[in-house]
Amino acid sequence: MIGIPRRSFLSGAAAALVAPIPTARASTTLSFGLTPVFLESDIALLGNLQSYLSRTLDRPVSLVKRRTYQEMTALLLSGELDAAWICGFPFVQHPDKLALVAVPLYRHQPLYQSYMIVAAERAVSTWQELRGDIHAFSDPDSNSGYLVTTALLAENHLTPQSFFGTTFFTYGHRNVIRAVAAGLAGSGSVDGYIWDVMSNREPALVSKTRVLRRSELLGFPPVACLRSNHESAGITQLANALVRTSEDDQGRRLLSMLQLDGFAIEPDSLFDDIAAKFALIQRQPA
């Protein structure tokens, strides 16, 4: 895992080299999907992303936002989106249809963790003590916000329904933090990257929660496209633009806002652990 950043860098560099340089102005709009992986209501961030992509791709870029991963994945699978920033879980659910465009580098790795969080003052030290809890999940198609916890329970021959008292989905990692901070939920499953970024941006909110359990490192939510479209010039240019984000002033500002280090071209195998968790819960008797 330690070698991943270097490998990512090399892959990104290779991709950049092989990407054909656009010779004519592409007039068609690139549709780029965004899910709640992003921090909600960050208009400046979205504007910056759109501006950066349309400038570097030299074509109009349309950012498409949807509330759930399911909606986003459906749009992507139906071909209505050229690419989308989705989660590792939808990616491993459709390995034959989806391909990776680029994977963000967080702390120089294309990896992140899922956090199980509780209220800051709550006196529990293990996830087993959360039995009977009201638990907040982010999204049924989220890796960090659902799959990791469900898989953990499955490893212990448990299901969310049998272990927790009540569960609900907030369709947003920030909402999971809000639900736990407000006491609506006793515990929650949240994207570790989002929790970390928010602890800097909204310390008053995040400080009301604490991390009870950190998962192993897993593949960061990637930018994906239809496998059938993976080799198209547009996707190649997009991958190139993403990988070269750190080389551009506007790109660096964008990365700074996202608190990411860059994007890299990664192999599908980066998401094998997530695929294994998916397989585990699929095997679990209903």
């Binding site: 009201i134 009540t166 609900f168 907030t170 639900a179 006491g183 609506l184 939920a185």
Partner: protein
Amino acid sequence: MIGGLRVLAARLPLALKVPLLVAALTVLVAIVISQVILSRLEKEQSASLHDLASVFMDGLSTAVTPWLLRQDVWETFDSLDRARQQYGGIDLLFVVVTLPDGSVLAASAPERFKTGSALPAPLATFAASGRDLIIDERLHKAWLIRAVDQEQFHVGTILAEIDISKLLAVRRELLITLFIVNGGLTLLLGTAGYVMVRRMIRPLSLIQGKLATASSGRPQPIEDIMIERAGPEYAGLYRRFNDMIRGQAEREALAAELANQEKLAMLGRLASGMAHEVNNPLGGLMNAVDTLDVHGEDTNARRRTIDLLRRGLAGIQQVVRAALVTYRSDDRTRLLTHADLEDLPFLIQHETGVKQIELQWRNELPREVQIDASSIRQIALNLLLNACAATPERGQVSFAATADGESLRLLVTDQGPGLPAVALTAARAGAAGEAAPVGQGLGLWTASRLAARLGGRLSLRSGPAGGAAVEFAAPLPKEREDLREVA
């Protein structure tokens, strides 16, 4: 209680009574006005709260209903959380959304109302009450309730608890303001009333002061300058007061004159009586002197004559002495003694002698009585002279003087025709300090006047078959000092 208040109210001076009445009326008006204002405010606030609650619950139910239908915990919570920031007009404490089975779906205070838990009492009762607004002023809280129905199906209930402290504080502040303003007005009007009434009754105080000084001496009339300064009503009152003072002074002067005249009249009668008493033996005495001149060498004749002379001169001496005692001019108060009355028969000897009236004399006074001797002698003498004048020839007049530790009594009876009406009038006038009636009855008037001065009174009775009884009674002071003050 009410009787006591009435007595207190009657005793209060006008200067206090009027301001207190003004203050009481102001307080009464203030209470009524305050009550009306507060009642109106309460209705307005209640209507306003009702409207505000209705708008708030309309908005909230619109936002929550889709999520309630889907029983979406997060979105319901999110809607409630946002609503809390949107409705500034309501001091929202919490909102809780329950499912038809009464369990909590979500609440803006999730730690207090856990998802899936039952709504605690009394909120569960409120939610099921069917009412849309419940107010508890004691707790400073109100509860808004909205049942959410979709296509005739009850899908849940929204219950909001709001803090109505500000509404109550407005009411309380208004009450305090009313209390302060009304209190100030009451104080102001009360003080103004007091000052005004004091100014209005100041002339009365002047008259009161004049009357107060009059009790300890001669009343003084109100100065002309004060009459000029006073308003028309009080100027008239002052003039009448001055007229009264002058009338009183004139009456007193007249009474003094009459008393003096009576004294002189009595003196005249006494003087003529005395002259008669002196003259009667004087012929015999002159004869005795002639007898001595002729038969002075005869021892027996001389002794008999000298005895006769001595008896005659002794009689004259007694009459003269009695007159001297009665009319001596010194003003010093002297206490009555048993002997003071004993020489009175000599003073009326002329009246009794001429009409051959039998005087039944009973003097049972102790050696000394704590009362002014001169006044008693004058009273007794007047009563005796009247009795002798009324009694026919060879009639009977009785005199009795008694005293115990508390009072002195003199009783004089006669066999005359009884007391005429004018005598009773004169006695009453004398006792009341009024002027003597013209004509008869001067003796009774004088006696009554003296009796009143001594704190006593005269009782007049006529017998059924004629004859009159006049009784003088006066209380006796315990101490000599008291006597001096009375005198």
